[in-house]
């Protein structure tokens, strides 16, 4: 029997459907769990927090959801070693909950995905995330190749990593910088960063390697028909591109 992946749906979450579909297309036994059934979450073996605007991003992006009762279960699960992936708003929630980079106490954020720069506007742009850690550093990335480029869409107004210089150094030294923005050829180019993110950060991981937070959406470039260079093929619904990260996640969940 395969492990079960819960996709929590907060009031305001809006990317749960494509997240669920890609998890399933990559072989995952995934299901949505709405906030009204929060008590069901404990029965899952791993979690994917999808994008959106949980609780309308009131106070700050992810701040209210980080203290929702669904997060009580997810925090406990994460501390117990279960795998957790957060995408976009899901990543903001994980930062606000203090699970990533995880350099402070739980519930006390030490960094933020905040207002984009240099212009504080919403960006919707195709990007590439380059794996910046050794794949084996985390079970979630273990099936990816060294310096793997994962295509995705950045779609956010608050995706810029910000922290004090000391905390940014801690993120680097502690190996928390999981993904960085890169050009299509894999080179690290400032122009590839869509939001002014410090360190060119596209994703952070905790010390134990079981909680990953990424800002861009790989699930929006996860099937053949999504790709900018798409050529009509026999199976336009074949998982590909950004699906690589989901496949790696599902493989890790099923092996755990």
């Amino acid at each position: 029997m395969s492990a079960r992946i819960g996709v929590p749906v907060f009031p305001g979450t809006n990317s749960e459907d494509e997240t669920l579909r890609l998890l399933r297309d990559c072989g995952g036994d995934a299901a949505l769990v709405h906030w009204s059934r929060a008590h069901d979450l404990a029965g899952y073996d791993a979690y994917v927090l999808s994008g959106g605007f949980a609780y309308e991003d009131r106070i700050r992006a992810g701040a209210i959801a980080a203290h929702d009762r669904m997060m009580d279960t997810i925090v406990e699960a994460a501390l117990g070693g279960k795998l957790v992936l957060g995408i976009c708003n899901g990543a903001q929630i994980l930062l606000e909950a203090g699970l990533v980079p995880g350099t402070g106490p739980v519930g006390r954020p030490t960094a933020a995905f905040t207002r984009n720069g240099p212009a504080p506007h919403f960006v919707c742009r195709h990007v590439f995330m380059k794996l910046a850690i050794a794949p084996e550093r985390s079970p979630i990335t273990a099936a990816l190749s060294e310096e793997k480029l994962v295509p995705a869409w950045a779609a956010h107004a608050e995706g810029r990593l910000a922290a004090s210089p000391e905390h940014l150094q801690e993120i680097v030294d502690g190996g928390h910088l999981a993904f960085v923005y890169a050009s299509a050829d894999g080179s690290l180019d400032r122009r590839a960063i869509p939001n002014g993110s410090a360190l060119g950060c596209a994703g952070l991981i905790n010390r134990a390697g079981n909680v990953l937070a990424i800002m861009p959406h790989p699930e929006r470039d996860g099937w053949d028909f999504n790709h900018l260079d798409h050529r009509r093929s026999d199976d336009v619904l074949a998982p590909s591109g950004g699906a690589a990260l989901f496949a790696s996640f599902v493989e890790a969940v099923n092996e755990a």
Binding site: Y55, E56, R58, I59, R60, A63, I64, H67, R69, E96, G107, R108, P109, T110, A111, A112, T114, R115, N116, G117, P118, A119, P120, R160, A162, A163, S164, P165, H167, G196, A198
Partner: protein
């Protein structure tokens, strides 16, 4: 001299209500939350002229939704904390010309304003992310 004007919703404030619920969930004795935008101005206007100008500025004031009042520019009111964005590092975005803080007034049972300890706890646990903000009491 620097003057401050608090612009507060006079219609129900969903964000303030959500903050109150979240703070109660975190164990703080908060019954009611009032949220304001605190705007700071350096100018030579007399207070009433400044207030009239704010009320005429449709970018920050809607007479159907807001009320505006002059407040002490030096410190938050009783039971209030201010959240201020930390100045971004060089090369990061700045909102030129904007000087604004978010004011949170927290009230416990029977409408009693929270003391400084309660305000500090609310800031640390929810209202302030120290990576990008600082709380002023």
């Amino acid at each position: 001299m620097t003057r401050a004007v608090a612009v507060t919703l006079k219609i129900p404030d969903n964000t303030a209500y959500t903050a109150a619920v979240a703070l109660r969930r975190l164990g703080l004795g908060v019954e009611r939350v009032e949220r304001s935008e605190i705007w700071f101005f350096d100018d030579g206007f007399d207070p009433q002229t400044l207030l009239a100008r704010v009320r005429a500025d449709e970018r920050i004031f809607n007479p159907n939704k807001h009320r505006a009042e002059l407040v002490d520019a030096g410190a938050p009111r009783s039971g209030e904390l201010w959240i201020e964005e930390i100045e971004p590092a060089e090369g990061e975005p700045r909102d030129r010309g904007r000087v604004r803080r978010t004011g949170w007034r927290l009230y416990g049972p029977h409408g009693v304003a929270l003391d400084r300890g309660g305000l500090r706890s609310a800031a640390e646990r929810l209202l302030c992310n120290p990576a990008i903000e600082r709380a002023l009491f």
